[in-house]
């Protein structure tokens, strides 16, 4: 049974039909990259999975259980599905460590000592243990994004959604964030990434989905999508990327 499944998912924002029937399967330990032009629906798709946006039609399943529509405990769902945002969205009034341990304490009901020890381990892993007592606004963009990843990981999510997590970073800070994603992939974390880093998508993903006008226009292993795309739109998109020197 597939780990995560989307069946005919539609999403309207008022009149605006953003997702127009998305079908997608993600297996355990897969890294799925969503590529496509800005505004094609990549971010919306991710935000629908953890119900930050309710879907208008269709079905989303995790482990075969329906997690969309009514009668779903959204707090439980979100504790299972971590998301990291383009703009970090750390809580500026809390220290780095408090950012990390808030949800484990309040949602998972972990004791402060236990949450702190897990949080410090994770911060150590991303090389930010010494910043634990610092406030987010005093960190660089790359450091903030690493903290945001740790904050999501501290909840022990079963799948991690990464929504263009390097798009707001200065170019020289991108690598430090991508390295962490690389390590997570190697550890077998199930992930979905919306990204503009084509080289990275090609290297790290087990499946690439080209999203166009609210549907998954073409999907396949990265060698195929980047090396020999079958459909015209995909070819045109990738040609623009290559012309811009981004691949």
């Amino acid at each position: 049974m597939a780990f995560l499944q989307m069946e005919g998912v539609h999403k309207y924002f008022g009149e605006n039909h953003v997702l127009r029937g998305v079908d997608l399967v993600v297996e355990r330990h897969q890294v799925v990259c969503l590529i496509g032009a800005s505004g094609c629906g990549k971010s919306t798709l991710l935000r629908c999975i953890n119900a930050l946006e309710p879907i208008s039609d269709g079905l989303i399943r995790i482990d075969g259980n329906r997690v969309s529509g009514t009668g779903v405990d959204l707090n439980d769902l979100r504790a299972d599905v971590g998301i990291v945002f383009q703009s970090f969205n750390l809580f500026p009034h809390m220290t780095v460590l408090d950012n990390v341990i808030l949800a484990p304490m309040k949602v998972l009901k972990r004791k402060k000592a236990a949450a702190t020890s897990i949080g410090m381990d994770l911060l150590q892993r991303v090389g930010l243990a010494e910043k634990a007592d610092e406030y987010p606004d005093r960190l660089s963009g790359g450091q903030q994004q690493r903290v945001a990843i740790v904050r999501a990981l501290a909840m022990d999510p079963r799948v991690l959604l990464l929504d263009e997590i390097t798009s707001a970073l200065d170019p020289e800070l991108v690598a430090e964030v991508l390295n962490i994603v690389r390590e997570l992939a190697a550890d077998g974390m199930t992930m979905m990434l919306a990204t503009h880093e084509m080289g990275f998508a090609r290297e790290v993903s087990s499946k690439v989905c080209f999203v166009h006008e609210g549907v998954i226009h073409e999907e396949g292993p990265p060698e195929l999508i980047f090396g020999d795309p079958q459909r015209e739109r995909t070819q045109a998109f990738l040609k623009r990327i290559v012309d811009a020197g981004r691949l």
Binding site: R78, F85, N89
Partner: protein, 326 residues
């Protein structure tokens, strides 16, 4: 060739200083002679230099003249204001000063009496402020509840705010104090007049402050709420741990504004027969044939307000230096 080079010289370095403007301005600034003299000297020098063709030095002198003119304006206005006030208070052998500051201001007993009254004001506003902080947050949160099901709650919260912001505080005081006393409801029986005054002030200022809270909460970017929810925190937890703490930091200045308003409005309770500071000031005025009692009461309010303003500024600065970059 040379013509071309002249064309690329920036206009600013070719321009003669506006000697006339400087001179006119510095003559005007002589109204405040101390810095006006400097302005005039500098503008005269600018004129001389301009005539002799040393435009660069002339522009520099002109710049100095301009600066002295601004000093004349800034300090001159203050000086004239001070002079005006001194004249006002010393006119007719200090008639006005005698009204506001006569010997009663040195009267120990009068101060003791006023302080005794002021203690009641302090009691009232301290209790009222604590209650307002809680009550107004509740109202604001109710008014921000999402979903169609909560529409009636939102409506009631909005109606309360509208109602109590539109009725004058003194009227609310009359309505609550005399109205509730008249009704003689079983539970409210045990409350005295001062308690009713606190209730009235909490109702009035709760309405104001709930709007301050609401604006503060709405000023927190929705992405903060989304981030909290995405971690599995409930609506209430997201509000409590993420949104409201940030909102409260932001609303300290307007909150202090309303609290100062509340503190001053405690003087209204003298209208329902409580002998607080204003009532005592009136008594002093009547019994000692003076007007200075009011001045003394005013001084007491000033004395508690200014430290609060500085303390709030310090609080904000401390928080910013901790959490912000740089």
């Amino acid at each position: 060739m040379t013509e071309n080079i002249q064309l690329v010289v920036p206009a600013a370095t070719r321009r003669a200083p506006r000697v006339l403007t400087y001179r006119a301005a510095s003559v005007l600034s002589l109204l405040f002679p101390f810095t006006g003299i400097f302005a005039l000297l500098a503008s005269l020098k600018a004129g001389r230099l301009s005539k002799s063709g040393d435009l660069e030095a002339a522009r520099e002198s002109g710049e100095r003249a301009r600066e002295w003119c601004w000093y004349s304006l800034g300090y001159g206005l203050l000086a004239y204001f001070v002079v005006f006030m001194v004249l006002l208070f010393t006119a007719q052998n200090g008639a006005l000063a005698n009204v506001y500051f006569d010997d009663v201001i040195f009267n120990r007993e009068a101060w003791d009496s006023l302080l005794k009254g002021f203690w009641i004001n302090i009691q009232i506003f301290v209790v009222a402020e604590i209650l307002v902080l809680i009550w107004a947050l509740v109202v604001a949160l109710l008014r921000l509840l999402p979903g169609k099901a909560c529409a009636p709650i939102r409506f009631v919260a909005a109606a309360y705010t509208d109602l109590f912001r539109s009725i004058p505080a003194i009227l609310v005081l009359y309505l609550i104090v005399y109205g509730l006393q008249k009704a003689q409801l079983p539970l409210l029986d045990s409350l005295d007049v001062q308690d009713f005054c606190v209730i009235a002030l909490v109702l009035v200022y709760g309405a104001y402050v709930s709007e301050v809270y609401r604006a503060g909460i709405q000023s927190i970017h929705w992405s903060q709420f989304a981030a909290a929810r995405s971690l599995g925190l409930s609506y209430g937890q997201s509000m409590r741990f993420v949104v409201v703490p940030q909102a409260v930091r932001r609303i300290i200045p307007p909150l202090l504004n309303d609290f100062i308003g509340l503190q001053k409005d405690t003087a209204l309770v003298s209208a329902v027969g409580i002998l607080e500071v204003l009532g005592r000031a009136r008594f002093i005025n009547n019994s000692q044939a003076t007007f200075t009692g009011y001045t003394m009461a005013a001084l007491l309010f000033i004395a508690i307000t200014i430290p609060q303003a500085r303390a709030a500024e310090w609080l904000i600065k401390r928080d910013q230096s901790r959490t912000r970059a740089g």
